[in-house]
Subunit: 142 residues, 2 copies
DNA sequence: ATACTATTGGGAATGATTATCAATAAGAAA
DNA sequence: TTTCTTATTGATAATCATTCCCAATAGTAT
C-alpha cells in the first residue's frame, strides 16, 4: 500500500495515553474530596509534575464526560472533580462545607420520587441532581 | 434632641425603595422560567427601563437572600433567578431543558430522605439541592 | 428645605474557563 | 529504528459572568 492510498485506513489511532493524563488521574486517587482544576494543577506542581493548566482543564472534563470521574459545581460556581471509585454507578453526594469531606450516597427513595414527579408532570428524558451539604462530625467538634 | 445627640438613634432607616428595585421585581412576574441577571437587564432595557447592570446583579442577589425570589445555577454555571410565587416555602424544580419551563415541586419524600441520610452519616446543619431536568410535554411533541 | 446616607451606575478589575496555534510526542507503518 | 501522521500539549490571549470602586444620585427622617 503506497502512501497515497493510506487515507482513512490510517485513522486507527483514537486516543493516546500521556504522562499528563496519568498524573492527573493518579492525583485524583488518594483524595476523598472534590477539587477544582486549579487545585489539582497546584497539587501536581507541588509533586514536581509539570502539566499545563489548560491540559488539566481539558483532561478533567474529558474524564468527566466519559464518567471516569465525577463532577459537580460548588456553590461559588466552580466545577469540582472527584474520583468516586467504590461506587461506580449513579449516586449522590453528602458534602462537608468545612473540610470538603464527601460521602457517596444512594437509595431508591429519591430515584423513585424524582421519577414519579417527572412522570406526573409529563416530563420525559429526565435526569436529576441531588446533593446534600452540611458539616461533618469531625468538623463539628472543633 | 440636638444633632450631636442623634448618634445611633437616627439609624432607623434600614432600606429604601427605589424605582430600580420595583422594575426588577416586576420584570420577574409574568415570567415562568429562570433568567440570568444579564437577561433581566436586557429585558428591562427593552422596556425602556434604565437600570444599571451592577444594580440588577446586586438587587437580584439581595432578593434571593431574603428569599423573595429563587436562585439556581444553570449547567453552564450562570446564576438564574425566578419568582416562584405560588409556592412560598421550601421547594424544588422540574425544569425543561428545551424551553426553560419550570414547575415547582415539593414533597416530604425527599425531605425525609435527605434528613435521614445526613443524620446517619453524622452531618449537621444540612441543606440540600434537588433539581429535576427533562423535556416537557409541549417540547416533546415537536 | 436640610442633612444623612442607602443606593445607583459606568467602568475598571477579577477570576475561572475557553480559544489559539505552534511545538511536542504517541503510535502506526515501513 | 526511522519516518510519518496527527493527537495532545502548553504558553498566552481572549471570553465572559460577576464583583469592585467611588463619585453622583435620591429616599427619608426631622
Ligand atoms: Mn439519583
Ligand atoms: Mn427539599
Ligand atoms: Zn468536615
Ligand atoms: Zn419545554
Amino acid at each position: 500500500m503506497s502512501l497515497k492510498d493510506v487515507g482513512k485506513d490510517s485513522k486507527q489511532i483514537v486516543e493516546r495515553s500521556t504522562r499528563q493524563q496519568s498524573s492527573i488521574l493518579e492525583a485524583l486517587y488518594g483524595i476523598d474530596e472534590f477539587k477544582s482544576a486549579q487545585e489539582i494543577h497546584a497539587l501536581l506542581a507541588k509533586k514536581k509534575l509539570k502539566v499545563g493548566l489548560a491540559t488539566v482543564y481539558r483532561t478533567l472534563q474529558k474524564m468527566a464526560e466519559k464518567e471516569d470521574i465525577d463532577a459537580i459545581k460548588s456553590t461559588e460556581g466552580e466545577t469540582l472533580y472527584r474520583h468516586c471509585g467504590q461506587n461506580d454507578g449513579h449516586h449522590h453526594h453528602l458534602i462537608c462545607n468545612k473540610c470538603g469531606l464527601t460521602i457517596t450516597v444512594e437509595g431508591p427513595a429519591i430515584e423513585n420520587w424524582t421519577e414519579k414527579v417527572a412522570k406526573e408532570n409529563g416530563f420525559s428524558e429526565v435526569s436529576h441532581k441531588v446533593d446534600i451539604f452540611g458539616v461533618c462530625k469531625g468538623c463539628r467538634r472543633k
